[in-house]
C-alpha cells in the first residue's frame, strides 16, 4: 500500500478537510540536482558549459573593465593600454554620439525636451500615479509642439509676417472657438469637434511660427542618439494611430472606397523594403512638389517610417480585432453605443490588449530600423559610430564603438519589452483573485 494513503481513512466520508499541498524538498542543492545534474549526460553538458564560461567570462571582463583605458585623446593613448577596451574614445566623442552636430551652446534645448518628456511620460506610462489624465492631455496636445519648437526653433510661415494677416488669423481663431462653444451648448458633437479642432490647429500654426522665440537649428544638424530617438519616438507615436485607422478601414465593408484604399496602402507598403520606401521618400516625393519647394530629409524619412510601420501595425491590430467575438459588438449595440463608441470603449481596448506583444515587437523593430536612415544621408547613432571609427585619429576602435551603440539599442529595446510585459500583467482581467 502507498504510504501516502495511510491517513486516507482518518476522516469520515464527506468531511475531508482541505489540506496544504505536499512539500517537496527545497533549497539550492535540490535545484542544482533537478536542473543541472539530473542525468549523466546533463551533468556532462553542465561541466562543458561551465568550462566555456570559464574561457569566455574572465577575458571579457578584463577587456571591458580590468585593463580598459578610460581617458584618451586619440587612438595612440589607447595603444598604450594593456589590450583592454578604450572607453576614452566614447568619452572624447560623447557629445557627437549623443547629439550629432547640434550646436554646442544650444544643447540645453534637446536636454529640456527630453526632461519634459520624462516628466510627462512617466506618469502616463505608469497609470498608478494620480493625475494621469491631465499629464496625458498635456503630452498629446501640447508637448509635441513645444518639443518641436525647442529642437528646431521657429518654423516661419510667410503669411504670418504680415500684421494684417495675423489680425485676420486671430479673428478666425476667436470665431472658431465661438463656433465650438455653440456646438457644446447645443450638444452638437460635429460642430464642437470642428470648432475646437480647427481653432487648436490654427493656434498650433501660430505657436510654431513663433517657436518660443529661439534661434533656428536646421535638422541637418540632428544626429546621434538625438536623431535616433526623434525618429523612433515620432514614428512609434504616429504610426500606431495610423495603423489602427488602417485596420478599422480594412474591415469597413460598408464603405468599399475606404476599405480598398486601406487594403491598397497596407499591401503596397508591406511588400516593399523599408530602404526602397526611404529612397522613394527622399528622391521621388520632391519631384511631385512645385519647383523650389524642398522638404526636410528628416521629415521625409519620418513620413516613410510612419507609413511603412503603420501598414505593419495595421495587420497586427487587425489580428486583435478578429479575435473579438461578434457578441461584444452586438452587446455594445444593444445598449445603444454607436459604431465609434463601441470601437473606442469595447472593441479596441480588448483588441489592443491582446496584441500588445505584437505591437511592442513592431516598436522594437522600428527603433532598430531607424538606423537605415543612414542610407539617405542622415547621421543617426549608428552612422555617427561608423564615421567615428573611420576617423584617422580613432582608427581600430570598432569593438568599442559598436559595443556602445549595441548597448544603447539594447537598453531602449529591452525596456520596451519589459514595459510591455508589465502592462500585459496589469491589464489582465481574467485572473481570479
Amino acid at each position: 500500500m502507498n504510504p501516502n494513503d495511510t491517513n486516507a481513512a482518518a476522516y469520515p466520508i464527506g468531511q475531508h478537510p482541505s489540506l496544504p499541498p505536499p512539500t517537496t524538498e527545497r533549497g539550492v542543492l535540490k535545484w542544482l540536482k533537478t536542473n543541472l545534474f539530473n542525468t549523466w549526460y546533463n551533468s556532462i553538458a553542465t561541466i562543458i558549459g561551465l568550462y566555456f564560461l570559464y574561457l569566455i567570462i574572465p577575458p571579457t571582463f578584463d577587456w571591458v573593465w580590468g585593463s580598459a583605458t578610460w581617458e584618451a585623446s586619440s587612438n595612440k593613448d589607447c595603444r598604450a593600454g594593456e589590450g583592454g577596451a578604450c572607453w576614452g574614445f566614447i568619452k572624447a566623442r560623447f557629445v557627437l554620439f549623443m547629439y550629432g552636430f547640434y550646436e554646442a551652446e544650444a544643447l540645453w534645448r534637446p536636454n529640456l525636451a527630453g526632461i519634459l518628456l520624462v516628466f510627462l511620460g512617466v506618469p502616463v506610462l505608469v497609470p498608478k500615479i494620480p493625475g494621469t489624465k491631465l499629464f496625458a492631455i498635456f503630452l498629446i496636445f501640447l508637448y509635441p509642439w513645444i518639443a518641436l519648437s525647442l529642437l528646431v526653433g521657429p518654423i516661419k510661415i510667410a503669411l504670418f509676417s504680415d500684421t494684417t494677416f495675423l489680425i485676420l488669423w486671430g479673428i478666425l481663431i476667436v470665431a472658431l472657438l465661438f463656433y465650438g462653444v455653440r456646438g457644446m451648448q447645443t450638444n452638437d458633437l460635429v460642430k464642437r469637434g470642428f470648432g475646437f479642432g480647427s481653432a487648436y490647429a490654427a493656434v498650433v500654426l501660430l505657436f510654431l511660427n513663433w517657436g518660443l522665440g529661439l534661434p533656428e537649428v536646421e535638422t541637418t544638424k540632428f544626429g546621434g542618439l538625438l536623431l535616433t530617438l526623434v525618429l523612433a519616438l515620432t514614428s512609434i507615436v504616429v504610426s500606431l494611430p495610423l495603423g489602427i485607422l488602417l485596420a478599422l478601414g480594412r474591415r469597413a465593408e460598408s464603405l468599399p472606397v475606404v476599405m480598398y484604399f486601406c487594403i491598397g496602402v497596407i499591401e503596397l507598403f508591406r511588400a516593399v523594403p523599408l530602404i526602397t520606401v526611404l529612397f522613394m521618400a527622399i528622391n521621388m516625393i520632391p519631384l511631385f512638389l512645385p519647383q523650389g519647394y524642398s522638404f526636410d530629409n528628416v521629415v521625409m524619412a519620418l513620413i516613410g517610417l510612419i507609413i511603412f510601420f503603420g501598414a505593419y501595425l495595421a495587420e497586427v491590430v487587425r489580428g486583435g480585432l478578429q479575435a473579438i467575438p461578434k457578441g461584444q459588438v452586438e452587446a455594445a449595440a444593444s445598449i445603444g453605443l454607436n459604431y465609434y463608441k463601441s470601437m473606442r470603449l469595447i472593441v479596441l481596448p480588448q483588441a489592443l490588449k491582446i496584441v500588445i506583444p505584437g505591437i511592442v515587437n513592431t516598436f522594437i523593430a522600428m527603433t532598430k530600423d531607424t538606423s537605415l536612415v543612414m542610407i539617405i544621408g542622415l547621421f543617426d547613432i549608428l552612422m555617427i559610430t561608423k564615421s567615428s571609427i573611420t576617423d584617422a585619429e580613432w582608427l581600430g576602435l570598432e569593438w568599442e564603438g559598436y559595443a556602445f551603440v549595441g548597448l544603447l539599442f539594447w537598453i531602449l529595446c529591452f525596456s520596451m519589452s519589459r514595459y510591455s510585459q508589465w502592462l500585459e500583467r496589469r491589464l489582465d482581467t481574467d485572473r481570479r483573485d
Binding site: 457578441g327 461584444q328 445603444g336 463608441k341
Partner: protein, 261 residues
C-alpha cells in the same frame, strides 16, 4: 378622489393597450436562404411573450430584427412608434429603448461589473458618473449580486454573469427587454437564479420577449406563447391553451419532443 383613481386606471389601460411593437408582413433572407417568412406580430406594452420552436426555426433572428442586429428585407417593423429603416440615428434611438440579453452573456470582460452597468448610461444617456453608479447598484441589488460590483466578469459564475447582463440592460431603463435563450448556457442549479430574476422583472410590468424552452417559466409569466418553425409563426396562444391543447401538428410534435426529456 375617485376621479383621480379612474384617471390612473385609464392611463394604465391606455399604456397596456399601446402597441409597442408592430411587425407587418416582414421577410428576411440570409443570402438566398429565406429565414423569416411573412411575420405578423403585434406586442402590447407590458405584454410578456415566450417564443419557442425547433433549432434553426428563426427565433433568434426574429428578436434580433427588433433591435436591428439583423436587417429585414421586406415588410415593416415599428418599435415604440419609430419605424426601423437604414437611418442610423433612429436605430441608435431604438436600441436605447430595447434591452437585450444573450445566450452567451456577452459581458465586457475588460470592465468591472459596475463599469459594465454604467457604460451605457454614461456614454449614451450622458448620465453623470456618480448618479449612474448609484442607479447601477440598485439594479445589481435587484438581481441580487451587489457584492460582485468590483469584480471582473471572468471571476463570476455563469448564472451571476447572466444576472449582470440583465442588470446592464436594465440600467438603460429600456421599455422592452429581449431575451435570447438566457438560460440555455447555464447549469441546472443556475437556471433558477436567472429565471427568478426574470419573473421579478415581469412583475414590474416590463414588456418582454423571451426565446426560451423553459415551460415552467412560460406558464407562470407569459401572456402569450408563440411557436415558430421554418421561419414562420405556426401558432400562438395563451400558455395553458398552448401547452395543454396545441392546435397544429408541428406544435404537437415539438411539444412531445421537449416533454420527452
Amino acid at each position: 378622489m375617485s376621479e383621480v383613481s379612474v384617471n390612473t386606471e385609464q392611463i394604465k389601460s391606455a399604456i397596456q393597450d399601446r402597441e409597442i411593437i408592430q411587425i407587418r408582413g416582414m421577410h428576411k433572407w440570409f443570402g438566398d436562404f429565406h429565414v423569416l417568412k411573412n411575420i405578423n406580430l403585434t406586442v402590447k406594452s407590458q405584454e410578456r411573450i415566450v417564443i419557442c420552436g425547433p433549432s434553426g426555426s428563426g427565433k433568434s433572428t426574429l428578436i434580433r430584427c427588433i433591435n436591428r442586429l439583423e436587417e429585414h428585407q421586406k415588410g415593416e417593423i415599428i418599435v415604440d412608434d419609430i419605424e426601423l429603416t437604414n437611418d442610423l440615428k433612429k436605430i441608435d434611438l431604438i436600441r436605447q429603448e430595447v434591452g437585450m440579453v444573450f445566450q452567451s452573456f456577452n459581458l465586457f470582460p475588460h470592465l468591472t461589473v459596475l463599469e459594465n452597468c454604467t457604460l451605457g448610461p454614461i456614454w449614451v444617456r450622458q448620465t453623470p458618473k456618480l448618479e449612474a453608479e448609484e442607479a447601477a447598484m440598485l439594479y445589481l441589488e435587484r438581481v441580487k449580486i451587489p457584492e460582485q460590483a468590483t469584480k471582473y466578469p471572468g471571476q463570476l459564475s455563469g448564472g451571476q454573469q447572466q444576472r449582470v447582463a440583465i442588470a446592464r440592460s436594465l440600467c438603460m431603463n429600456p421599455k422592452i427587454m429581449l431575451f435570447d435563450e438566457p438560460t440555455s448556457a447555464l447549469d441546472p442549479e443556475m437556471i433558477k437564479e436567472v429565471l427568478d430574476v426574470m419573473v421579478e422583472l415581469a412583475d414590474t410590468g416590463m414588456t418582454m420577449l423571451v426565446v426560451s424552452h423553459e415551460m415552467g417559466f412560460a406558464k407562470t409569466v407569459a401572456d402569450r406563447v408563440i411557436f415558430m418553425d421554418e421561419g414562420e409563426i405556426i401558432e400562438q396562444n395563451d400558455p395553458h391553451q398552448f401547452f395543454d391543447n396545441p392546435q397544429h401538428d408541428r406544435t404537437k410534435l415539438f411539444l412531445s419532443q421537449i416533454l420527452a426529456h
